[in-house]
C-alpha cells in the first residue's frame, strides 16, 4: 500500500526516501512553474509544459525520451512535483517505463494533495477525452504538505476544498460541520490544515485499499462527480471553463438534494452544505435551458452503463450508497432546487 507522509519539511522527507531506497538515480518531473520550487536545480530534471492541454501522449513520449537519455533504470526513483497534471502524467510515464519505475508524488496544490496524488490513478488525455489512456499504478509514497499553499490562488484553494468536503461527507459528520466553518479569507493555519488533510486523505486511502481498481466501493469517491463532471463539461462547451472543484461543489449540493429526495438524507445538512457552497462557490451561470445538455452529459459519464445515470448517494453523512440509478425527472427536480437555493 501507498506510504503517506504528512509533513511541512518536504526536503527532508524526500532526502530520506532517496537515501533509504538506495536508488542509482533520482529524476524530478515538474511543470514550468513547479520546477522553480526546486532549489538548487537537481541534476536530473524533466520540465513539462503546464496545464491540462499538455497532458498528452506527446508530452509522455518526451518524458520517456528524457528518461532514456538520463539512463533511468528499474532501480531509479522518479519524484513528481506539481498539481494533478504532473502527478497524473508523471505517474503514467514512470509506471510504464521499463514496466515500472518507483515514483513518489509531491502535490503542490490542495486538490492534488487530497485527490490526484493518492489512490493510484495515472493517465493522460487522448483525443480530447480526459484520462482516456492511463493505468492504476500507485505512487510508492505521497508527501502531503501545506507548505506550497501560501502562494496558491484562492480559487485553487476553494477548488481543492470541495474534495475535502466530499471526503468528510463520506465519513464523518463532525468533520463535515467543522469544514463548513472554514474561512477562506483568513491566513492559512498550517498545522490545522495539515490535520484536516491527514483526515481527508485517510478517507480516500481506506476506500481505495478496499477496492483499488474501482470495481465497487471506490465508486463512493465519485460522490458529487456524476453531476459535477456534467457542469464542468457544460462550462467547457460554453467556452467558460470552471475549476474542477467548483463544479464538484455544485455537484455535491445537487447530489445531496437527490439523496434527500431518494434516500431521506436530512434536509438540514442539505441546507448547511447549500449555504456554504452558495457563499463560496458562486458564479455558475446555468438555466433550465441547459438541463437537456446536462442530462446528456451525465449519461455519457465514464462510469455510466447502458445510458443510465448513476450516482453515489447518501442516506446520511457517512452512509454512502454506490450505483444508485436516478431518473431524468429526479435530476431535473434536484437542479430546480439547486437553482432556487443558489438564487439563479
Amino acid at each position: 500500500m501507498q506510504n503517506l507522509i504528512f509533513t511541512n519539511d518536504v526536503t527532508a522527507a524526500i532526502e530520506r526516501l532517496e537515501h533509504d531506497g538506495g536508488h542509482n538515480l533520482t529524476v524530478w518531473i515538474a511543470d514550468v512553474n513547479t520546477a522553480r520550487l526546486i532549489t538548487p536545480t537537481p541534476p536530473h530534471l524533466i520540465t513539462i509544459p503546464d496545464g491540462d492541454d499538455s497532458k498528452t501522449l506527446e508530452t509522455v513520449t518526451r518524458v520517456w525520451d528524457e528518461m532514456e537519455r538520463m539512463g533511468v533504470t528499474r532501480h531509479s526513483l522518479v519524484v513528481n512535483l506539481g498539481g494533478g497534471m504532473v502527478t497524473d502524467l508523471g505517474g503514467f510515464a514512470a509506471a510504464t517505463f521499463k514496466r515500472g519505475v518507483r515514483f513518489i508524488n509531491v502535490p503542490t496544490t490542495l486538490l492534488g494533495a487530497v485527490d490526484a496524488a493518492v489512490g493510484g490513478k495515472t493517465g493522460i488525455n487522448y483525443h480530447g477525452l480526459k484520462n482516456e489512456i492511463g493505468a492504476f499504478a500507485p505512487a510508492s509514497d505521497g508527501i502531503i504538505s501545506t507548505c506550497f499553499f501560501d502562494t496558491l490562488p484562492l480559487q485553487e484553494m476553494k477548488s481543492g476544498f470541495a474534495e475535502v468536503l466530499k471526503h468528510a461527507m463520506l465519513s464523518d459528520r463532525d468533520e463535515f460541520l467543522r469544514l463548513l466553518n472554514h474561512d477562506f479569507c483568513a491566513p492559512i493555519d498550517h498545522d490545522d490544515l495539515l490535520e484536516r488533510l491527514r483526515r481527508s486523505v485517510q478517507v480516500k486511502v481506506d476506500i481505495v485499499a478496499r477496492d483499488p481498481n474501482e470495481q465497487g466501493e471506490r465508486k463512493a469517491l465519485n460522490l458529487g462527480h456524476t453531476v459535477g463532471h456534467a457542469f464542468e463539461s457544460l462550462a467547457m462547451q460554453r467556452g467558460k471553463p470552471v475549476p474542477h472543484g467548483y463544479a464538484v461543489a455544485w455537484g455535491l449540493v445537487t447530489e445531496a438534494v437527490l439523496s434527500h429526495l431518494l434516500l431521506k438524507f436530512p434536509s438540514e445538512d442539505v441546507h448547511r452544505l447549500g449555504n456554504f457552497v452558495r457563499d463560496n462557490y458562486r458564479d455558475f451561470p446555468f438555466t433550465c435551458d441547459d438541463y437537456d445538455e446536462l442530462l446528456a452529459l451525465m449519461r455519457h459519464d465514464k462510469k455510466s452503463r447502458d445510458g443510465e445515470i448513476t450516482c453515489t448517494l447518501l442516506s446520511a453523512i457517512g452512509n454512502f450508497h454506490i450505483d444508485q440509478t436516478v431518473t431524468p425527472d429526479d435530476v431535473t427536480a434536484a437542479l430546480d432546487i439547486l437553482r432556487d437555493h443558489l438564487g439563479l
Copy 2:
C-alpha cells in the same frame, strides 16, 4: 489471480467467458495471420501487422483509436489472439485504455502459451529497445490450447519448448527427464502436450503469484535468459537473428555449466541437457572472438545492477538461487565448455 483454462475447445471457452462477464462489447485483437483463424469474422476485430518490428507505440495508438471508434468501455472485453507480440501489445493497449479494460489472452504459439500469455507482463518496443514501455497487468483469463500447434513451424515449436524445459528445471526433475525424451518429429500428441503445458504454466503461475512485480523470486524465471538474451542480441547485431527459444536453450546450457562450476549442479544433468540442446538447437555460430561482446551485452541486461552480471543459477533441478553474481572469468569458462560440448 489470473484464471487459466486448458482446453482444446477454444471457441466454447471464449463464449463462456463472454457470456458470464455480461460485457457490452467484445473486441478481438489479432495479427494479419491469426485474424484468419477467427471464423466467422467477428463484428469488432482489430487487425495489427505481425512481427516484433510492429510492436510499437504507433501500433498501440492505432489500437486505441480503433477501440474508441468501436465504443469500447470499461465494461467491454478484449480478446488477444496470437503469439507473444499480440498478447504483449494487445494487453498493454487494453490495460491502459480508460485505465484498464478486461482482456483475455488466447496464445496461438507454444512460446505464447507457456510464457508470454501468462504472468501479466505487457509492453511494446521503443526506440528499438525490447519491452521498454509496458505495464504489469495480468489478463483476467488465459486460454491455453494446443489446437493451433499442428500448423506451427517446427522452429517455433522448438523455440517455445525451451521455456517448457526451463520451467521443469526450476521445479521437477522427473518432468525435466521426461521432456528430454521429446521427439519433435513425431506428430503432436495433443492430450500429452496439453498436460505438459498445464504443468509448465503452473510453475510460472506459482512463482508469479508470490512475486508479481519481479522484486525477488520471479527472477527465477530469468533462468537461461541472462546469457540467452546476450546470444539473441549478438545474433541480431550480426544480422542473423535467431528464435528467442534457441538463444534461451543455449543460455540454459551455459547457465547450467555456471551452476555446476559455482553451485555444484550435478554434471550428469548438465550433460543430459547439453545433449538435448546439441541435437535439437544446432546452428549457433559464435567463436571466442565474440566473448567480449557477449559479456558487454550481459552487463547491460535490464535486470543487471551496477554493471555486474547476475543470473539465476541452480544447485539442483528444482533448487534455484536468484541474484547470483558471476564474473567474466566464470562466463568465459562456461562458454568454453558450451562450445566444446556443442562441437563449435
